[in-house]
């Protein structure tokens, strides 16, 4: 019989106690953290939805791999197990381990991007954008039209706008576009997937123009499962085979293993270009580590190899996508504005519509993040004008395309009760939303300001 209740395809083997706080304590704590959720001590958070990056629960197999790590500096067994697994799933010739995803991006863009160059992406994520801009490049977002319509039920809102891409490629020489990148799933755009058809078209455009095509692959398994569910022709294809096809259209990828590999640390960079890999390894040695460990402990290479296998399990992916949908459906039923359809790793509350009386440069997403922490001790992150509003080169601030509060769900960590508690807290803030005030930035650095910016509440 087909059960309606969705259950986790695992049971709990190790727990981590959570400290509970009172509302009064949280009022004080968030003030001390300058109203920036990044600056809260983790132990003062009840449900931590700041990120799904590096915060997942490894399996007993993953922990066994941790114990099996070969920590030899050069040529460790862990390296070969890691490399062979990556090659098997991702299919690229060259595998370069890095301590995490942003280091892979840093190396890739450092080698390819020069001042004035343009990097098209469906939507750049924060560290990706920072890395492009740090090298003097222009990070150009080309999301598809449907992504702008919060109410649209189009299943592949992560797609790139093909016409816009064609225009950019036609208007610029190939030398000016060092690579085209697609983020799967599209994190800043609501964790929305990209269709295989879209990937094929982008690949065709890139190959015709002789421009390398890269995937930011950190949620490749979730994206693959969306394709299986919603793209005709893939109903009976296993996620691993969908992933392999996805990568077959690309020339390389960056990967943060802290997402779709269940790892607490680690990442890698892949390419089919041996010459390029050679240049990349020269930088790797300088900033990361020797090419057979790249700044990772042997045990972490082994844990990633296990995680990459586990993440592609169909039952796990069913559970993962269904649990996101569970939260989104309940929020919709309560009339709370949320990005739909449900994404793969996070719930995105539309803070602009939740708090329409707060203008974008008074940071409604940040204000909502602060209120949700005070209400329930839940930590989320603003994805809006705080994260993307400031051009670090001109110093000009403009409203972001959309003001969101992202509640990212760590993999295999929280139960349905935790999600029910979350729904209750969001509902309570919704009920008193008219009293929520905007924010002002008191102090912030030039790059990636959202991590360390200090805020004040407006009177």
């Amino acid at each position: 019989m087909l059960m309606k209740t969705m259950i986790e395809p695992f049971r709990i083997k190790m727990v981590e106690p959570i400290k509970l706080t009172t509302r009064e304590q949280r009022e004080r704590l968030i003030k001390e953290a300058n109203y920036n959720t990044f600056l809260l001590a983790a132990e003062d958070v009840i449900i931590d939805l700041l990120t799904d990056s590096g915060t997942s629960a490894m399996s007993s197999e993953g922990w066994a791999a941790i114990m099996r790590g070969d920590e030899s500096y050069a040529g460790a067994r862990s390296w070969y197990r890691f490399r062979d697994t990556v090659k098997d799933i991702f299919g690229f010739e060259q595998v370069i381990p890095t301590h995490q995803g942003r280091a892979a991006e840093h190396i890739l863009f450092g080698v390819l991007v020069q001042p004035g160059m343009i990097v098209p992406n469906n939507t750049h994520f924060d560290t990706t954008r920072a890395n492009v801009e740090y090298n003097g490049g222009v990070a150009l977002d080309l999301p598809c039209a449907q992504s702008r319509d919060a109410d649209s039920d189009f299943p592949f809102k992560g797609n790139m706008d093909i016409e816009a891409l064609e225009k950019v490629v036609a208007q610029n020489t190939a030398e000016k576009i060092p690579l085209i990148m697609v983020t799967v799933t599209n994190n800043s755009g609501g964790g929305q997937p990209v269709s295989m058809a879209n990937i094929r078209q982008i690949s065709r455009i890139a190959r015709a123009a002789n421009i390398p095509f890269y995937l930011d692959a950190c949620r490749f398994a979730e994206n693959s499962h969306f394709i299986k569910r919603y793209e005709p022709g893939f109903e009976n294809t296993a996620p691993i085979d969908i992933a392999r096809e996805l990568f077959s259209y690309a020339d390389g990828c960056t990967m943060s293993a802290k997402k779709d590999a269940f790892a607490n640390i680690g990442g890698f960079l892949c390419t089919n270009d041996a010459q390029l890999a050679h240049r990349e390894r020269n930088i790797l040695i300088l900033t990361e580590g020797f090419p057979t460990y790249g700044g990772l402990a042997g045990r972490d290479l082994d844990a990633i190899a296990i995680g990459l296998r586990e993440i592609l399990d169909e039952h796990y992916l069913d559970y993962r996508l269904d649990s996101m949908r569970y939260v989104v459906n309940h929020l919709c039923e309560a009339g709370i504005p949320v990005v739909t359809p449900a994404g793969g790793h996070a719930v995105y509350i539309d803070a602009g519509r939740f708090l329409p009386h707060i203008e974008p440069l008074r940071y409604p997403g940040q204000a909502l993040a602060v209120e949700l922490y005070i209400e329930g001790g839940i930590r989320g992150v603003e994805i809006g004008s705080v994260m993307f509003g400031l051009d670090p080169h001109t110093g000009v601030e403009q409203p972001a395309r959309i003001e969101l509060l992202r509640l990212a769900v760590p993999r295999r960590v929280y139960t349905q009760s935790h999600m029910d508690y979350l729904l209750e807290a969001v509902g309570a803030v919704w009920a008193r939303r008219k009293q929520v005030r905007g924010m002002r930035i008191v102090e912030a650095p030039q790059f990636l300001r959202h991590f360390t910016a200090k805020f004040e509440r407006l009177q």
Binding site: F38, D70, H99, R102, Y134, N264, R281, E288
Partner: protein
């Protein structure tokens, strides 16, 4: 037999199996690795003395720390523990975690150095010098002359020669010297310590010139042990107190915790200046990770905090250095030419003396390292002309006075029997040294060439 005054202050709780190989296997493996021990597979190595970095055995307490990781992206409790531990044992007020030592060097160099600067130091280290050069500085060696004489028994070969330092100051002026970089237990000199008296004099010199003093502290505990053993007035001071005193004489530090602190991954940048800390927080997020994890998993920060407390225990460091001294003394008794005095983390074979028939341009230390592997399966590292690289302006080989092979002892990993086997292996190589041939490059990388270079024998 002399009565020994130490035994390992621990017993074995977990083992890792190693395999012996035949001479034919090793000949083949070495040829495939291009006569570069870095390119061997660890499973083909019997006793791995390539490095002491990241290869130490953690204690059961450190492993317990691994299980206590708080993997929250921001404000992990392991970060606060690490910060407090660094201040308690090393005196520095602010700590910025980094995925490993070179990550800290990268950030330090970018913040403090302006193009055209000079950075004096007590002998170069490969990655440190390269980061200084990339930031636009020129490294100037101000170590005492004794450091370059392998036969001198001077007890503090890591000392600074103030005539050299004054000469540089007179020539370029204090404005062009952003900081003096001082390593404790100088690796390239053979693991040689700096004396407390010399360091105090350096502190006074820096104060007078208004120049910052930065500490490369990766082997500070071993340096402290030598001060306790050799310097007047410190016989009754604990290693822990000496370590603190050393650190308190300096303004900032880079740490690769993969050495002294016995972790497999991790490091940090530490300082007392709040402005410097803020700059480092802004930069660490671009290269490493948010400033409360800096590219380290929470569990690794926890293991590091525990490792720091273990690393400064007198019994531990006595046994640690005692094992290295044991290996060195036995080699010396067999008539093997080694660097004197015996250092804290490694025994350095004098390849110039062992292979007088090979000229420096034919890489005697590289050849010796390859021969030692083929003979016995012991993996060592070249520290001579190959490691020294080329002059960034002339393109000529740097010709270091020391042409050495480093037998580096991982902490708490190998037993006395392993040391005895190593002695036997070196004796064998010594007996048939006339048959060892010089090498030439078949592939020479542009930067840090020793890591990935390939060679062939000159027949």
């Amino acid at each position: 037999m002399t009565a020994r005054n130490w035994a390992e202050p621990y017993k074995i709780k977990m083992v890792e199996l190693i395999k012996q190989t035949s001479r034919e296997d090793r000949l083949k493996a070495m040829r495939e690795a291009g006569y570069n021990t870095f390119l061997l597979r660890s499973e083909d190595v019997y006793i791995d003395l390539l490095t002491d970095s990241g290869v130490g055995a953690m204690s059961d307490r450190q492993w317990a720390g691994i299980m206590m990781g708080d993997e929250a992206y921001a404000g992990s409790r392991n970060f606060y523990h690490l910060r407090d531990t660094v201040e308690q044992y090393y005196s520095y007020k602010f700590t910025v975690p980094c995925h490993q030592g070179r990550g800290a060097e990268n950030i330090l160099s970018q913040i403090l150095i302006s193009p055209g600067d000079y950075v004096p130091g007590n002998m170069y280290f490969t990655t440190t010098r390269l980061h200084q050069e990339l930031a636009g500085a020129t490294f100037v060696d101000v170590i005492v002359d004794e450091a370059h004489d392998p036969d001198s028994h001077y007890p503090f070969k890591g000392n600074v020669d103030f005539d050299k330092l004054d000469a540089l100051l007179d020539e370029v002026g204090a404005d062009k010297i952003p900081y003096v970089c001082i390593a404790t237990c100088v690796n390239m000199a053979g693991g040689q310590p700096i004396s407390m008296a010399n360091l105090k004099q350096l502190r006074a010199w820096c104060d007078k010139s208004g120049i910052m003093l930065v500490h490369d502290m990766t082997r500070v505990a071993e340096n402290a042990h030598f001060i306790q053993q050799r310097e007047d007035g410190y016989q009754d001071t604990s290693v822990r107190d000496i370590v603190y005193e050393i650190c308190a004489l300096t303004d900032a530090a880079t740490m690769s915790s993969k050495k002294d602190a016995m972790v497999n991954i991790g490091g940090f940048l530490a300082m007392n200046d709040a402005k410097f800390y803020e700059k480092a927080c802004g930069l660490v997020v671009v290269y490493e990770g948010l400033h409360t994890y800096g590219g380290m998993a929470g569990r690794d920060m926890e293991a590091l905090s525990i490792g720091i407390t273990e690393s400064v225990q007198d019994d531990h460091i006595h046994a640690r250095v005692g094992q290295v001294q044991y290996l060195g003394r036995r080699l010396r008794e067999s008539g093997i030419p080694i660097v004197n005095p015996i250092g804290g983390h490694a025994v350095f074979l004098n390849a110039t003396r062992m292979l007088p028939h090979i000229v420096q341009d034919h890489f005697p230390a590289q050849a010796l390292s390859a021969a030692l592997y083929i003979e016995s399966g012991v993996r060592s590292m070249e520290r001579g002309i190959v490691s020294a690289g080329r002059d960034k302006l002339t393109g000529e080989n740097h010709k270091p006075k020391l042409e050495l092979v480093r037998l580096t002892i991982p902490r708490r990993v190998y037993t006395q029997a392993h040391m005895d086997v190593t002695v036997g292996a070196v004796e064998e190589v010594m007996a048939r040294r006339d048959q060892i041939k010089g090498l030439r490059f078949t592939y020479e990388p542009e930067v840090l060439r020793f890591f990935q270079a390939r060679f062939e024998q000159i027949v």
